[in-house]
Protein backbone atom coordinates (compact mmCIF):
# COMPACT_ATOMS: atom_id res chain seq x y z
CA UNK A 1 0.00 0.00 0.00
CA UNK A 2 1.44 3.35 -0.96
CA UNK A 3 1.46 6.27 1.43
CA UNK A 4 -0.94 8.14 -0.86
CA UNK A 5 -3.83 5.77 -0.24
CA UNK A 6 -6.41 6.55 2.42
CA UNK A 7 -5.05 5.09 5.65
CA UNK A 8 -8.28 3.57 6.92
CA UNK A 9 -9.34 1.72 3.76
CA UNK A 10 -8.83 -1.97 3.13
CA UNK A 11 -9.23 -3.44 6.54
CA UNK A 12 -9.91 -6.76 4.84
CA UNK A 13 -8.56 -9.64 6.85
CA UNK A 14 -9.35 -13.09 5.53
CA UNK A 15 -7.97 -14.77 8.64
CA UNK A 16 -10.47 -12.97 10.83
CA UNK A 17 -13.16 -14.28 8.56
CA UNK A 18 -14.54 -11.03 7.21
CA UNK A 19 -14.39 -12.37 3.66
CA UNK A 20 -16.74 -15.18 4.58
CA UNK A 21 -19.46 -12.88 5.87
CA UNK A 22 -20.52 -11.28 2.60
CA UNK A 23 -22.63 -14.27 1.49
CA UNK A 24 -24.53 -14.78 4.77
CA UNK A 25 -24.93 -10.99 4.94
CA UNK A 26 -26.71 -10.67 1.59
CA UNK A 27 -28.88 -13.70 2.47
CA UNK A 28 -29.87 -12.12 5.79
CA UNK A 29 -28.27 -15.03 7.64
CA UNK A 30 -25.91 -13.26 10.02
CA UNK A 31 -26.94 -13.05 13.66
CA UNK A 32 -28.03 -9.58 14.77
CA UNK A 33 -24.70 -8.92 16.49
CA UNK A 34 -22.69 -10.14 13.49
CA UNK A 35 -24.85 -8.11 11.13
CA UNK A 36 -24.21 -4.88 13.00
CA UNK A 37 -20.48 -5.55 13.23
CA UNK A 38 -20.31 -6.37 9.51
CA UNK A 39 -22.14 -3.18 8.53
CA UNK A 40 -19.51 -1.21 10.45
CA UNK A 41 -16.74 -3.30 8.89
CA UNK A 42 -18.04 -2.58 5.38
CA UNK A 43 -17.33 1.10 5.84
CA UNK A 44 -13.62 0.41 6.02
CA UNK A 45 -13.23 -2.66 3.80
CA UNK A 46 -13.46 -2.16 0.05
CA UNK A 47 -12.87 -5.87 -0.64
CA UNK A 48 -15.95 -6.90 1.32
CA UNK A 49 -17.95 -4.05 -0.19
CA UNK A 50 -17.19 -5.30 -3.68
CA UNK A 51 -18.05 -8.84 -2.76
CA UNK A 52 -21.32 -7.74 -1.19
CA UNK A 53 -22.21 -5.71 -4.29
CA UNK A 54 -21.51 -8.73 -6.51
CA UNK A 55 -23.50 -11.20 -4.42
CA UNK A 56 -26.36 -8.79 -3.74
CA UNK A 57 -27.30 -8.95 -7.41
CA UNK A 58 -28.04 -12.65 -6.93
CA UNK A 59 -29.83 -12.21 -3.61
CA UNK A 60 -32.06 -9.57 -5.24
CA UNK A 61 -33.07 -12.14 -7.88
CA UNK A 62 -33.93 -14.87 -5.36
CA UNK A 63 -37.55 -13.75 -4.72
CA UNK A 64 -38.30 -14.81 -8.28
CA UNK A 65 -37.53 -18.41 -7.26
CA UNK A 66 -40.55 -18.45 -4.93
CA UNK A 67 -43.76 -19.87 -6.42
CA UNK A 68 -45.68 -16.85 -7.67
CA UNK A 69 -49.12 -16.46 -6.11
CA UNK A 70 -51.58 -13.57 -6.14
CA UNK A 71 -51.83 -11.27 -3.16
CA UNK A 72 -55.31 -11.53 -1.58
CA UNK A 73 -57.66 -8.70 -2.55
CA UNK A 74 -58.64 -8.01 1.07
CA UNK A 75 -54.98 -7.41 1.87
CA UNK A 76 -54.97 -4.51 -0.56
CA UNK A 77 -58.16 -3.14 0.97
CA UNK A 78 -56.56 -3.18 4.43
CA UNK A 79 -53.32 -1.57 3.30
CA UNK A 80 -55.03 1.13 1.23
CA UNK A 81 -57.52 1.92 4.01
CA UNK A 82 -54.62 2.82 6.30
CA UNK A 83 -52.81 4.69 3.56
CA UNK A 84 -55.86 6.76 2.63
CA UNK A 85 -56.52 7.52 6.28
CA UNK A 86 -52.92 8.77 6.62
CA UNK A 87 -53.30 10.85 3.47
CA UNK A 88 -56.57 12.40 4.64
CA UNK A 89 -55.04 13.36 7.96
CA UNK A 90 -52.06 14.79 6.14
CA UNK A 91 -54.22 16.74 3.69
CA UNK A 92 -56.29 18.35 6.44
CA UNK A 93 -53.13 19.23 8.33
CA UNK A 94 -51.50 20.79 5.32
CA UNK A 95 -54.69 22.65 4.39
CA UNK A 96 -54.73 24.09 7.90
CA UNK A 97 -51.11 25.13 7.77
CA UNK A 98 -51.54 26.53 4.26
CA UNK A 99 -54.26 28.77 5.59
CA UNK A 100 -52.12 29.80 8.56
CA UNK A 101 -48.99 30.48 6.60
CA UNK A 102 -50.81 31.92 3.60
CA UNK A 103 -48.79 30.16 0.97
CA UNK A 104 -46.10 28.26 2.81
CA UNK A 105 -46.42 24.57 2.08
CA UNK A 106 -46.50 21.87 4.69
CA UNK A 107 -44.27 18.87 4.01
CA UNK A 108 -45.88 15.46 4.01
CA UNK A 109 -45.37 13.83 7.39
CA UNK A 110 -44.86 17.15 9.08
CA UNK A 111 -41.77 17.52 11.16
CA UNK A 112 -40.55 13.96 10.68
CA UNK A 113 -38.71 15.02 7.57
CA UNK A 114 -36.96 18.32 7.77
CA UNK A 115 -37.21 20.20 4.50
CA UNK A 116 -33.84 20.96 2.97
CA UNK A 117 -32.93 24.62 3.29
CA UNK A 118 -33.12 25.17 -0.45
CA UNK A 119 -36.75 24.13 -0.44
CA UNK A 120 -37.84 26.66 2.13
CA UNK A 121 -40.42 29.21 1.09
CA UNK A 122 -38.89 32.24 -0.54
CA UNK A 123 -41.35 35.14 -0.70
CA UNK A 124 -39.04 37.29 -2.82
CA UNK A 125 -39.01 34.63 -5.53
CA UNK A 126 -42.75 34.28 -5.28
CA UNK A 127 -43.19 37.97 -5.88
CA UNK A 128 -40.87 37.82 -8.86
CA UNK A 129 -42.78 34.83 -10.18
CA UNK A 130 -46.07 36.66 -9.86
CA UNK A 131 -44.79 39.72 -11.61
CA UNK A 132 -43.77 37.50 -14.50
CA UNK A 133 -47.07 35.63 -14.38
CA UNK A 134 -48.94 38.85 -14.91
CA UNK A 135 -46.89 39.46 -18.03
CA UNK A 136 -47.78 36.00 -19.26
CA UNK A 137 -51.44 36.71 -18.61
CA UNK A 138 -51.24 39.80 -20.76
CA UNK A 139 -49.51 37.92 -23.54
CA UNK A 140 -51.86 34.96 -23.67
CA UNK A 141 -55.04 36.85 -22.88
CA UNK A 142 -57.74 35.15 -24.90
CA UNK A 143 -61.31 35.32 -23.74
CA UNK A 144 -62.43 35.55 -20.19
CA UNK A 145 -65.34 33.18 -20.20
CA UNK A 146 -68.97 33.53 -19.21
CA UNK A 147 -71.45 32.04 -16.81
CA UNK A 148 -73.37 28.86 -17.44
CA UNK A 149 -77.02 29.76 -17.78
CA UNK A 150 -79.09 29.30 -14.66
CA UNK A 151 -77.78 25.84 -13.79
CA UNK A 152 -75.78 26.88 -10.75
CA UNK A 153 -72.71 25.75 -12.66
CA UNK A 154 -70.32 28.40 -13.91
CA UNK A 155 -68.12 27.42 -16.79
CA UNK A 156 -65.05 29.58 -16.98
CA UNK A 157 -62.88 29.39 -20.06
CA UNK A 158 -59.26 29.43 -18.97
CA UNK A 159 -56.41 31.18 -20.72
CA UNK A 160 -54.11 28.57 -22.13
CA UNK A 161 -50.56 28.95 -23.35
CA UNK A 162 -49.97 25.81 -25.45
CA UNK A 163 -51.59 26.25 -28.85
CA UNK A 164 -54.52 23.85 -29.47
CA UNK A 165 -54.98 23.20 -25.74
CA UNK A 166 -58.31 23.99 -24.08
CA UNK A 167 -59.21 24.27 -20.42
CA UNK A 168 -62.40 25.10 -18.60
CA UNK A 169 -63.05 25.53 -14.92
CA UNK A 170 -66.46 24.23 -13.88
CA UNK A 171 -67.58 25.84 -10.65
CA UNK A 172 -70.54 24.59 -8.68
CA UNK A 173 -71.34 25.54 -5.12
CA UNK A 174 -67.79 26.66 -4.40
CA UNK A 175 -66.29 23.41 -5.70
CA UNK A 176 -64.39 23.44 -8.94
CA UNK A 177 -63.12 21.03 -11.51
CA UNK A 178 -60.56 21.93 -14.12
CA UNK A 179 -61.14 20.07 -17.39
CA UNK A 180 -58.23 20.07 -19.79
CA UNK A 181 -58.03 18.89 -23.38
CA UNK A 182 -55.23 18.59 -25.93
CA UNK A 183 -52.51 19.60 -23.48
CA UNK A 184 -49.01 18.47 -24.43
CA UNK A 185 -47.62 15.47 -22.53
CA UNK A 186 -45.46 16.42 -19.58
CA UNK A 187 -41.74 16.29 -20.21
CA UNK A 188 -39.93 13.28 -18.69
CA UNK A 189 -39.51 13.82 -14.97
CA UNK A 190 -42.21 16.48 -14.85
CA UNK A 191 -45.83 16.78 -13.74
CA UNK A 192 -48.41 19.49 -13.99
CA UNK A 193 -49.11 21.30 -10.76
CA UNK A 194 -52.18 23.30 -9.83
CA UNK A 195 -51.84 26.62 -7.97
CA UNK A 196 -54.31 28.97 -6.35
CA UNK A 197 -54.23 32.74 -5.94
CA UNK A 198 -56.45 34.43 -3.40
CA UNK A 199 -56.08 37.79 -5.08
CA UNK A 200 -54.50 39.06 -8.27
CA UNK A 201 -51.60 40.53 -6.29
CA UNK A 202 -51.31 37.65 -3.81
CA UNK A 203 -48.84 34.77 -3.89
CA UNK A 204 -49.42 31.60 -5.91
CA UNK A 205 -50.27 28.94 -3.35
CA UNK A 206 -49.14 25.43 -4.28
CA UNK A 207 -51.67 22.59 -3.99
CA UNK A 208 -51.23 18.87 -3.76
CA UNK A 209 -52.92 18.48 -7.14
CA UNK A 210 -50.14 17.07 -9.32
CA UNK A 211 -51.25 15.42 -12.51
CA UNK A 212 -50.43 14.23 -15.98
CA UNK A 213 -52.62 14.12 -19.05
CA UNK A 214 -53.76 11.06 -20.93
CA UNK A 215 -52.72 10.11 -24.44
CA UNK A 216 -55.23 12.59 -25.88
CA UNK A 217 -53.91 15.35 -23.64
CA UNK A 218 -56.98 15.30 -21.42
CA UNK A 219 -57.21 15.53 -17.65
CA UNK A 220 -59.86 16.43 -15.12
CA UNK A 221 -58.59 17.81 -11.86
CA UNK A 222 -60.54 18.77 -8.75
CA UNK A 223 -59.41 22.04 -7.20
CA UNK A 224 -58.40 21.14 -3.63
CA UNK A 225 -60.46 23.10 -1.14
CA UNK A 226 -62.69 24.59 -3.82
CA UNK A 227 -62.60 28.18 -5.08
CA UNK A 228 -64.69 30.15 -2.59
CA UNK A 229 -61.85 32.49 -1.70
CA UNK A 230 -59.80 32.01 -4.81
CA UNK A 231 -59.35 34.54 -7.58
CA UNK A 232 -57.23 32.48 -9.95
CA UNK A 233 -56.41 28.86 -10.64
CA UNK A 234 -53.09 28.26 -12.41
CA UNK A 235 -51.26 25.28 -13.87
CA UNK A 236 -47.52 25.04 -14.39
CA UNK A 237 -45.13 22.26 -15.37
CA UNK A 238 -42.90 21.28 -12.45
CA UNK A 239 -40.29 18.67 -11.66
CA UNK A 240 -41.75 15.47 -10.18
CA UNK A 241 -42.89 16.03 -6.65
CA UNK A 242 -43.98 19.55 -7.50
CA UNK A 243 -42.55 22.91 -6.47
CA UNK A 244 -43.25 25.58 -3.92
CA UNK A 245 -42.65 28.41 -6.33
CA UNK A 246 -44.26 28.17 -9.74
CA UNK A 247 -42.02 27.59 -12.73
CA UNK A 248 -43.07 30.04 -15.38
CA UNK A 249 -44.74 30.43 -17.68
CA UNK A 250 -48.11 29.52 -16.27
CA UNK A 251 -49.61 27.21 -18.88
CA UNK A 252 -53.22 27.58 -17.81
CA UNK A 253 -54.83 30.46 -15.95
CA UNK A 254 -58.50 30.49 -14.98
CA UNK A 255 -59.85 33.69 -13.41
CA UNK A 256 -62.55 32.87 -10.93
CA UNK A 257 -63.29 36.41 -9.79
Amino acid sequence: MSADEPPMEDQHNEREGCGGNAAPYVLGALTDAEHQAFVVHLESCSVCREEVAALQVVAAALPAAAPQVSAPADLKRRVMAEVREDARRQASQSAASRAELSGARARPWGSRLAAPAWLSWRPNLAVAALAAAVVVLAVVALSSGGDGAGTGVRVIRAQVLPSHARATLNVSDGQAQLSIARMPQTAPGHVYELWLKRSAAGPAIPTDALFTVDAAGAASVGVPGGVRHVSEVMVTSEPLGGSRVPTLPALIVARVA
Binding site: A29, Q68, V69, A71, K76, A91, W109, V155
Partner: protein
Protein backbone atom coordinates in the same frame (compact mmCIF):
# COMPACT_ATOMS: atom_id res chain seq x y z
CA UNK B 1 -69.90 17.67 -19.98
CA UNK B 2 -69.45 18.55 -16.36
CA UNK B 3 -67.62 15.87 -14.43
CA UNK B 4 -68.60 14.87 -10.92
CA UNK B 5 -66.49 16.85 -8.51
CA UNK B 6 -63.62 14.92 -7.09
CA UNK B 7 -62.54 16.36 -3.77
CA UNK B 8 -58.79 16.30 -3.26
CA UNK B 9 -57.98 16.54 -6.90
CA UNK B 10 -55.63 13.59 -6.97
CA UNK B 11 -54.58 12.23 -10.30
CA UNK B 12 -56.22 8.93 -11.15
CA UNK B 13 -54.37 5.64 -10.87
CA UNK B 14 -54.76 5.26 -14.62
CA UNK B 15 -53.10 8.62 -15.19
CA UNK B 16 -50.23 7.73 -12.88
CA UNK B 17 -49.66 4.31 -14.33
CA UNK B 18 -47.59 5.81 -17.13
CA UNK B 19 -45.01 6.95 -14.59
CA UNK B 20 -42.00 4.83 -13.68
CA UNK B 21 -41.67 3.51 -10.13
CA UNK B 22 -38.92 5.97 -9.35
CA UNK B 23 -41.12 8.88 -10.43
CA UNK B 24 -44.06 7.56 -8.43
CA UNK B 25 -41.88 7.40 -5.33
CA UNK B 26 -41.45 11.16 -5.56
CA UNK B 27 -45.24 11.48 -5.28
CA UNK B 28 -45.39 8.87 -2.51
CA UNK B 29 -42.88 10.97 -0.64
CA UNK B 30 -45.34 13.85 -0.87
CA UNK B 31 -48.02 11.67 0.68
CA UNK B 32 -49.97 10.91 -2.47
CA UNK B 33 -52.00 7.77 -1.82
CA UNK B 34 -52.89 7.07 -5.44
CA UNK B 35 -49.23 6.97 -6.45
CA UNK B 36 -48.66 4.50 -3.63
CA UNK B 37 -51.56 2.39 -4.85
CA UNK B 38 -49.90 2.05 -8.27
CA UNK B 39 -46.66 0.94 -6.58
CA UNK B 40 -48.66 -1.55 -4.48
CA UNK B 41 -50.43 -2.99 -7.52
CA UNK B 42 -47.15 -3.46 -9.34
CA UNK B 43 -45.33 -5.30 -6.58
CA UNK B 44 -47.85 -6.80 -4.15
CA UNK B 45 -47.96 -10.20 -5.86
CA UNK B 46 -44.17 -10.58 -5.81
CA UNK B 47 -44.07 -9.37 -2.21
CA UNK B 48 -46.81 -11.73 -1.11
CA UNK B 49 -45.24 -14.64 -2.98
CA UNK B 50 -41.94 -14.07 -1.18
CA UNK B 51 -43.61 -13.67 2.21
CA UNK B 52 -45.78 -16.74 1.69
CA UNK B 53 -42.81 -18.84 0.59
CA UNK B 54 -40.95 -17.75 3.74
CA UNK B 55 -43.76 -17.92 6.31
CA UNK B 56 -45.73 -20.83 4.91
CA UNK B 57 -48.89 -19.39 6.42
CA UNK B 58 -51.27 -17.08 4.71
CA UNK B 59 -52.15 -14.98 7.77
CA UNK B 60 -48.54 -14.42 8.76
CA UNK B 61 -47.55 -13.64 5.16
CA UNK B 62 -50.34 -11.07 4.94
CA UNK B 63 -49.18 -9.41 8.15
CA UNK B 64 -45.63 -9.26 6.85
CA UNK B 65 -46.66 -7.72 3.51
CA UNK B 66 -48.97 -5.23 5.20
CA UNK B 67 -46.26 -4.13 7.65
CA UNK B 68 -43.74 -3.92 4.83
CA UNK B 69 -45.86 -1.76 2.54
CA UNK B 70 -47.00 0.51 5.35
CA UNK B 71 -43.43 1.10 6.47
CA UNK B 72 -42.60 1.86 2.86
CA UNK B 73 -45.46 4.37 2.65
CA UNK B 74 -44.46 6.04 5.86
CA UNK B 75 -40.77 6.23 5.05
CA UNK B 76 -40.89 6.69 1.27
CA UNK B 77 -38.17 9.30 1.53
CA UNK B 78 -35.68 6.60 2.38
CA UNK B 79 -35.85 5.09 -1.07
CA UNK B 80 -32.54 5.77 -2.75
CA UNK B 81 -32.58 5.10 -6.45
CA UNK B 82 -28.82 4.69 -6.43
CA UNK B 83 -29.29 1.44 -4.57
CA UNK B 84 -31.45 -0.45 -6.99
CA UNK B 85 -34.96 -0.64 -8.32
CA UNK B 86 -38.08 0.10 -6.30
CA UNK B 87 -39.02 -3.58 -6.68
CA UNK B 88 -35.73 -4.73 -5.15
CA UNK B 89 -36.22 -2.24 -2.35
CA UNK B 90 -39.80 -3.40 -1.69
CA UNK B 91 -38.79 -7.05 -1.67
CA UNK B 92 -35.83 -6.29 0.59
CA UNK B 93 -38.16 -4.69 3.13
CA UNK B 94 -40.57 -7.62 2.96
CA UNK B 95 -37.68 -10.09 3.27
CA UNK B 96 -36.42 -8.37 6.42
CA UNK B 97 -39.91 -8.25 7.91
CA UNK B 98 -40.44 -11.93 7.21
CA UNK B 99 -37.10 -12.83 8.81
CA UNK B 100 -38.12 -10.86 11.90
CA UNK B 101 -41.46 -12.66 11.99
CA UNK B 102 -39.82 -16.07 11.56
CA UNK B 103 -37.23 -15.42 14.24
CA UNK B 104 -39.97 -14.43 16.66
CA UNK B 105 -41.57 -17.81 16.24
CA UNK B 106 -40.54 -20.72 18.42
CA UNK B 107 -38.09 -23.24 17.08
CA UNK B 108 -40.81 -25.86 16.99
CA UNK B 109 -43.02 -23.75 14.74
CA UNK B 110 -40.31 -23.25 12.20
CA UNK B 111 -40.22 -24.90 8.89
CA UNK B 112 -43.74 -26.16 9.36
CA UNK B 113 -45.05 -25.49 5.94
CA UNK B 114 -48.81 -25.45 6.05
CA UNK B 115 -50.20 -24.77 2.68
CA UNK B 116 -53.66 -23.38 3.13
CA UNK B 117 -54.87 -23.81 -0.37
CA UNK B 118 -53.00 -21.05 -2.11
CA UNK B 119 -52.32 -22.26 -5.59
CA UNK B 120 -49.50 -21.09 -7.69
CA UNK B 121 -50.84 -18.68 -10.21
CA UNK B 122 -51.28 -20.62 -13.36
CA UNK B 123 -50.03 -18.84 -16.39
CA UNK B 124 -52.43 -15.96 -16.42
CA UNK B 125 -52.36 -14.42 -19.87
CA UNK B 126 -49.14 -12.45 -20.08
CA UNK B 127 -50.40 -9.04 -20.88
CA UNK B 128 -47.26 -7.03 -20.80
CA UNK B 129 -43.65 -7.33 -21.81
CA UNK B 130 -42.74 -6.68 -18.22
CA UNK B 131 -44.71 -9.69 -16.98
CA UNK B 132 -43.28 -11.80 -19.75
CA UNK B 133 -39.74 -10.80 -18.86
CA UNK B 134 -40.42 -11.49 -15.19
CA UNK B 135 -41.67 -14.97 -15.89
CA UNK B 136 -38.54 -15.64 -17.89
CA UNK B 137 -36.41 -14.31 -15.08
CA UNK B 138 -38.21 -16.48 -12.53
CA UNK B 139 -37.52 -19.55 -14.63
CA UNK B 140 -33.86 -18.65 -14.96
CA UNK B 141 -33.45 -18.05 -11.25
CA UNK B 142 -35.17 -21.32 -10.34
CA UNK B 143 -33.02 -23.20 -12.84
CA UNK B 144 -29.86 -21.59 -11.51
CA UNK B 145 -30.80 -22.56 -7.96
CA UNK B 146 -31.75 -26.11 -8.90
CA UNK B 147 -28.55 -26.69 -10.80
CA UNK B 148 -26.43 -26.05 -7.73
CA UNK B 149 -25.11 -29.03 -5.78
CA UNK B 150 -27.70 -29.90 -3.11
CA UNK B 151 -25.44 -28.86 -0.27
CA UNK B 152 -25.20 -25.34 -1.73
CA UNK B 153 -28.83 -24.81 -2.72
CA UNK B 154 -29.88 -26.13 0.67
CA UNK B 155 -27.94 -23.56 2.70
CA UNK B 156 -29.10 -20.75 0.43
CA UNK B 157 -32.75 -21.80 0.74
CA UNK B 158 -32.57 -22.31 4.49
CA UNK B 159 -30.99 -18.88 4.88
CA UNK B 160 -32.93 -16.78 2.40
CA UNK B 161 -36.37 -18.42 2.50
CA UNK B 162 -36.13 -20.11 5.89
CA UNK B 163 -34.82 -17.08 7.73
CA UNK B 164 -32.25 -19.18 9.60
CA UNK B 165 -28.89 -17.77 10.65
CA UNK B 166 -25.75 -19.47 9.40
CA UNK B 167 -25.16 -20.66 12.98
CA UNK B 168 -28.57 -22.36 13.09
CA UNK B 169 -27.99 -23.91 9.69
CA UNK B 170 -24.59 -25.22 10.78
CA UNK B 171 -26.11 -26.82 13.84
CA UNK B 172 -29.05 -28.27 11.88
CA UNK B 173 -26.71 -29.81 9.32
CA UNK B 174 -24.01 -30.77 11.80
CA UNK B 175 -21.47 -28.86 9.73
CA UNK B 176 -18.86 -26.30 10.81
CA UNK B 177 -19.90 -22.64 10.52
CA UNK B 178 -17.09 -21.91 8.09
CA UNK B 179 -18.26 -24.69 5.80
CA UNK B 180 -21.79 -23.32 5.72
CA UNK B 181 -20.56 -19.81 4.87
CA UNK B 182 -18.34 -21.26 2.17
CA UNK B 183 -21.25 -23.14 0.57
CA UNK B 184 -23.35 -19.99 0.58
CA UNK B 185 -20.61 -18.05 -1.11
CA UNK B 186 -19.88 -20.71 -3.71
CA UNK B 187 -23.54 -21.23 -4.47
CA UNK B 188 -24.25 -17.52 -4.92
CA UNK B 189 -21.15 -17.08 -7.07
CA UNK B 190 -22.25 -19.94 -9.35
CA UNK B 191 -25.76 -18.54 -9.61
CA UNK B 192 -24.29 -15.23 -10.56
CA UNK B 193 -22.44 -16.84 -13.45
CA UNK B 194 -25.55 -18.75 -14.48
CA UNK B 195 -27.67 -15.59 -14.42
CA UNK B 196 -25.39 -13.96 -16.90
CA UNK B 197 -23.17 -11.78 -14.81
CA UNK B 198 -19.79 -13.22 -15.75
CA UNK B 199 -17.69 -10.77 -13.75
CA UNK B 200 -15.70 -12.89 -11.38
CA UNK B 201 -16.54 -12.71 -7.72
CA UNK B 202 -13.61 -11.58 -5.61
CA UNK B 203 -11.65 -14.61 -4.51
Amino acid sequence: MFNPLRPGGEPSAAGLSVLADEELMQLVYRGQATAFEVIYDRHADAAFSLAYRMCGQRALAEDVVQEGFLSLWRSGARYDRGRGSVRTWVLGIVHNRAIDALRRRTVRDRGRISDEGIEERIAAPERTDVEFARRDEAREVRDALEQLPDEQSRVIELAYFGGLTHVEIASALGAPVGTVKGRMRLGLAKMRMALGDPTEVVQ
